[in-house]
């Protein structure tokens, strides 16, 4: 760290305990200052250890054989040729691990390996874990595994998934979860509105694209019965719990050690390499390593939800919001992941930071055979903002008001009520952000 001592006199009030509150506030020495990042030194020299930088002697390499069709019943998996590849140590299929349970962030709906008779639901589903002395041998064996499937209708659109005759991707149906919002009298308010604007918005699949792909190393400490996993996760203890329940171990038997994390943005909330690593380490008794390729990462791990948003927004003649009706339909893909929380969090923010007394909303997270969608920075509200902030702009133009002024008219103040009925009791400085950004950009109602 640079020489902080030099600066101490500038910021430190000597008789700290006897200062007034005001004095304390001004005397902050470290908070509010540009202290250099503690981990930066390791990172600029290449010394920081990321998951894929870890290796052990005698370490084996893993590759995963993945689904061959986005929605199909596995009829047969033949690993006989793959097993003959020189250097292959173990090929693990579902029947080798009959006790292993499904995993998942909110709903445990993801199988560790697909067994014959079961369904693969997207291209990232795992069919076999190949463990070999070299990466090359593992790749070669993976490509020699032969799979027979019975293809089913591939559901790519959540609206198709919600139709009565659509095949169920999971036993309980394709709608994972539905939430509602209701406040005030929306129909009456629309009737009394000067302008009502309705639009349908559509967002896309986005990959969080952290620079470091999912990777990890595991080691089984047979003496203590503990499997050590070095891999990234955004929530250490939750991943530990998910791995432990899946493998029917106690939490103490699963130790997860976090190396330096090469970015996450929501993508590293879900289990990725962890369970496969643990299984391979426990079966082979040797250290094992699994690194996803970029392609594998994009196909296998979570996405930002594409959400269809239908917004109907009313204003009165004076430019105040009167009513807002919204519908969110989110494509959560093959597995729930964070989907049951993402889509309605988006809806809960559907009006943006604007006062609106009458509100009606419904949200659905829906299964399809696309790569599953989960968490990504913004968590449903980024999709929602694309819709509500265009609604605001459109209405401002229709009202012939400066879009900034229109926002200021409706912006939350202290004690405003959110769509959830939450009264904002403190720290509501939204208005100031608009005023400040107007100043900063020399805002003149649109073009410079």
């Amino acid at each position: 760290m640079t020489d902080q001592n030099k600066r101490i006199k500038d910021y430190f009030c000597k008789h700290t305990t006897r200062c007034t509150i005001e004095g304390v506030k001004k005397s902050k020495r470290f908070v509010g200052h540009d202290i250099l990042k503690a981990d930066a030194w390791d990172k600029v020299t290449g010394e920081a250890v990321y998951p894929d930088d870890i290796s052990f002697d005698d370490m084996l390499h893993i590759k995963i054989k993945r689904a061959v069709h986005p929605h199909a019943i596995l009829k047969d998996i033949d690993i006989s040729r793959a097993k003959k590849v020189q250097g292959v140590v173990d090929i693990i299929v579902a029947e080798d691990i009959p006790d292993v349970r499904q995993f998942g962030l909110i709903i445990r709906d993801q199988p560790v390996l697909i067994a014959p008779g079961e369904k693969m639901r997207y291209m990232g589903d795992a069919l076999a874990i190949i463990v070999a002395e070299t990466k090359e041998a593992a790749k070669k064996a993976r490509d020699l595994i032969q799979v027979k499937v019975e293809e089913l209708e591939v559901i790519t659109d959540p609206f198709r998934a919600m139709e009565a005759d659509a095949p169920n991707i999971h036993p309980d149906g394709n709608i994972v979860i539905t939430h509602h919002l209701n406040r005030g009298d929306v129909d009456e308010a629309f009737k009394n509105s000067a302008i009502v604007e309705e639009n349908r918005y559509q967002t896309q699949f986005i990959d969080q694209l952290p620079m470091q792909n999912e990777a990890g190393v595991a080691l089984y400490d047979e003496r203590h019965g503990v499997v050590d996993i070095w891999a990234a996760t955004q929530w250490l203890h939750d991943t530990q719990a998910d791995v432990a329940q899946s493998l029917r171990l106690s939490k103490d038997q699963v130790r997860i050690i976090q190396p330096t994390i090469g970015g996450a943005f929501g993508k590293k909330e879900d289990v990725s390499v962890h369970i496969h690593l643990a299984i391979a380490a426990m079966r082979t008794g040797r250290p094992v390593k699994l690194c996803f390729t970029r392609e594998e990462s994009m196909i296998t791990q979570s996405k930002r939800h594409p959400i269809t948003i239908i917004n109907k927004t009313g204003v009165d003649r004076d430019g105040y919001l009167t009513a807002w009706e919204t519908k969110f339909v989110g494509d959560t893909g093959a597995y729930a992941s964070s989907g049951p929380a993402v889509v309605h969090k988006g809806m809960y923010h559907a009006t943006g930071p604007y006062n609106c007394p009458n509100l009606r909303g419904v949200s659905h997270a829906v299964y399809t055979n696309n790569t599953y969608a989960g968490a990504m920075r913004g968590f449903g509200t980024a999709q929602g903002a694309f819709a509500y902030e265009q609604q605001m702009d459109i209405l401002a133009h229709k009202l012939n008001i400066d879009p900034a002024e229109f926002r200021l008219k409706n912006i939350y103040q202290k004690d405003s009520i959110t769509p959830n009925g939450q009264q904002l009791t403190h720290s509501v400085n939204a208005e100031e952000t608009i005023k400040r950004v107007m100043e900063l950009s020399d805002w003149k109602g649109g073009r410079k």
Partner: protein, 333 residues
């Protein structure tokens, strides 16, 4: 031809898991005889800087240079649950947990200090790793000596703090008293130029004002705004994982495009610091809110530039060019 456009967006983000989901963080601090102060937290530093944030908070409370701190982080067997690095929650939750642990530690320094000096708090001063009586600063006990002495008592100079605010689960109408612990607000203005020949967008300037209570580390906050905004702009104009019939057509960075150093705009920021939240030193979370305004502000800027609304993301050159053509047709007919 190049057409200038400017768009604004204002967003809010309720952070923490909220919705009645149990959401907490536990952290501990230990002062060691070997001149180290160890903070233990399971909070994952994904690059956003929670390690530095908690050091700053603890250093502030314990009145000692951040150099002395070491963060033990990311080991299920060495740390207690800190919740996830998501929901924009670590500065607020783990920041508060560390602050509480540090406050407990400070109180203990006073406690043990008063025993050593046979005095009481008002006469004792603590600063820069030294405990002493106000009237005799030269006769001090260092934190490290104190750790040694506490150890001799068969105790440890260690403190734990946790933060566990309550939220409520919304009812069937989505209503509850407190759904999220607090909200961060951000307004952004984005200036662009559209090349009408190619339908491509040039990003010029981005102006941001964020209501974050308090910036624990202003430069790192700026880094969050810039990084988040660029991700949001990627969402707005180029990012699109194309999945057709269940298969990804652009798995890889050749055709899944994110902005490069040549694509990104210039930034100006304003931090609204009212220090009025219940986070550490009044801070609120900033991670996610920094992304959210960019795509809508961009869409509004595109409308300002060419008079066309785009309801579907991303706003790609193909879409812009097509819209320009249709608009021209419309205007001619």
């Amino acid at each position: 031809m190049k057409k200038f456009g400017r768009g604004m967006a204002t967003i809010m983000f309720g952070f923490g898991y909220g919705e009645g989901f149990p959401d907490h963080s536990i952290a501990s601090i230990e002062i060691k005889e070997d001149e180290r102060i160890v903070i233990r937290t399971a909070a994952a530093d994904v690059g956003q800087g929670v390690i530095t944030t908690v050091i700053q908070i603890a250093a502030e409370i314990l009145r000692i240079n951040p150099n002395y701190f070491e963060v033990v982080q990311g080991d299920t067997h060495k740390t207690k649950n800190s919740g996830s690095t998501s929901a924009t929650r670590q500065t607020y939750f783990t920041g508060n947990a560390v602050k509480k642990a540090a406050e407990d530690m400070l109180a203990n320094l006073y406690h043990y200090g008063s025993l050593e000096f046979r005095s009481n708090h008002p006469e004792i001063a603590i600063e820069d790793g030294r405990i002493y009586m106000y009237d005799d600063p030269d006769d001090y006990i260092s934190y490290w000596e104190m750790a040694e002495r506490v150890k001799e008592r068969g105790e440890k100079l260690e403190a734990e703090g946790s933060f566990f605010p309550v939220t409520y689960s919304p009812d069937e109408n989505g209503q509850a008293d407190k759904v999220y612990v607090a909200y961060t607000f951000l307004s952004q203005v984005i200036d662009i130029e559209i090349d009408t020949d190619t339908g491509t967008i040039d990003l010029l300037d981005v102006y941001s004002a964020i209501d974050l209570g308090k910036a624990i580390n202003p430069k790192n906050v700026e880094g969050q705004i810039e990084g988040g905004t660029v991700q949001g702009l990627g969402m707005g104009m180029m990012e699109d994982q194309v999945i057709r019939n269940g298969k990804t057509l652009n798995a890889g960075m050749t055709d899944y495009l994110v902005p490069t150093s040549v694509d990104v705009p210039k930034f100006k920021h304003y931090l609204v610091e009212e220090e009025d939240s219940e986070g550490p030193f009044g801070a609120k979370g900033v991670g996610e809110p920094t992304l959210i305004a960019a795509a809508p502000a961009l869409a509004n800027a595109v409308y300002d530039a060419i008079g066309v609304r785009f309801f579907e993301l991303p706003i790609s050159p193909s879409k812009i060019k097509k819209a320009l053509k249709e608009k021209e047709k419309e205007e001619n007919s």
